[in-house]
Subunit: 202 residues, 2 copies
């Protein structure tokens, strides 16, 4: 099965701007993309990067600068998976559970109502990534006569968007991204018993 | 297998104080406790509520008003599970994956470094719920000569502590707790494309 990995190459990860410089955000985003593609590559599926701009990659890259939903829907040729490029906690095991799950539309929900990963086997299904997309994707599946099912995975539920997500990566990550973060000086901190991250000066 | 369900009966869920009155927090916390115990009861395990104060329950209740770690450690008689009382998204399927996972110490990590649920089969293991307990539990397991393993579950990773967690419950819940929330006037809201909750006046 093909797995599309949408990637916003321009000014990625703006919500990490409080803790990472622009060039660092580019580097970190590409490192996460490599982790995600490597994890997919270790399953039965094959990653294709769906990028807003040309990028160097050891995996096939398709460029489409339209918004996410339009770019994905144009290539939603079942059976196909869509896996977000910032799922830096994704492992081959977690992805294999998703890819192997039965169902015409299988969703890996993200925190906050997102659709972090998806398997589509129903040709009439289309995506809509705006807002609480998990609810929209259930509705769209229902409209085309199938029931969306879910795969229950913490590793696929956490996308790395905000500084607090970096704590999850430091706690549970095992790929290049967590190495990159540690090299950049990030470490866990529990100042008031709650886990966050701090950055050491280099 | 016995499954301890620690429950703080006094002033529960203080971090929901911005959206729920004190008597509502008591009612909501007990509703979540019932959902968790029901879900456990639908597996091969049997719930025992480990409460700081006497409460009415259809499941056995043991009262211990000491802090969480001390109260749990005193009853950590393997094989035993410990499942937090605010895992309102927990389903029998998710819990069965935890209870059936191989390993001397199996952790269901919570967001933010917590240990939301645990299976202990190693008699020398003890808990320490302070701070980033998932890291402490890995270390303690290692000190007693075993490797802690993890079960990868979104449903077990989300504990209902903060107002934003209520959105997860509205999106993914199926028990009494989500019915209670809806009856109390809560609904999803996506004012700026990000999912949160709002409460309608009754």
């Amino acid at each position: 099965m093909d797995a599309l990995v949408p990637f916003a190459a321009r000014e990625p990860k703006t919500r990490l701007a409080t803790v990472l410089e622009p060039d660092e955000r580019v580097e970190f985003a590409r490192t996460m993309l490599r982790d995600v593609c490597s994890a997919i590559d270790a399953t039965d599926a094959s990653p294709t990067v769906l990028s807003t701009d040309p990028i160097d990659s050891e995996w096939p890259v398709v460029v489409d600068d339209r918004p996410l939903t339009a770019a994905v829907n144009d290539r939603l040729d079942p059976p196909v998976a869509v896996v977000m490029a910032d799922l830096a906690l994704a492992t081959p095991d977690a992805l294999s559970r998703l890819f192997g799950a039965e169902g015409e539309v299988v969703i890996a929900p993200g925190l906050g109502g997102g659709t972090n990963a998806l398997v589509v086997r129903e040709p009439d299904f289309h995506t809509d990534y705006h807002g609480a997309s998990v609810a929209d994707h259930r509705r769209i599946a229902s409209e085309v006569g199938v029931e969306a099912t879910a795969v229950d995975s913490f590793r696929l539920a956490v996308d790395i968007d905000e500084p607090e997500d970096l704590a999850e990566l430091l706690l549970h990550g095992s790929g290049e991204s967590v190495e990159w973060l540690r090299s950049a000086g990030f470490e866990l901190s529990t100042p008031d018993g709650r886990v966050t991250v701090r950055r050491q000066a280099r």
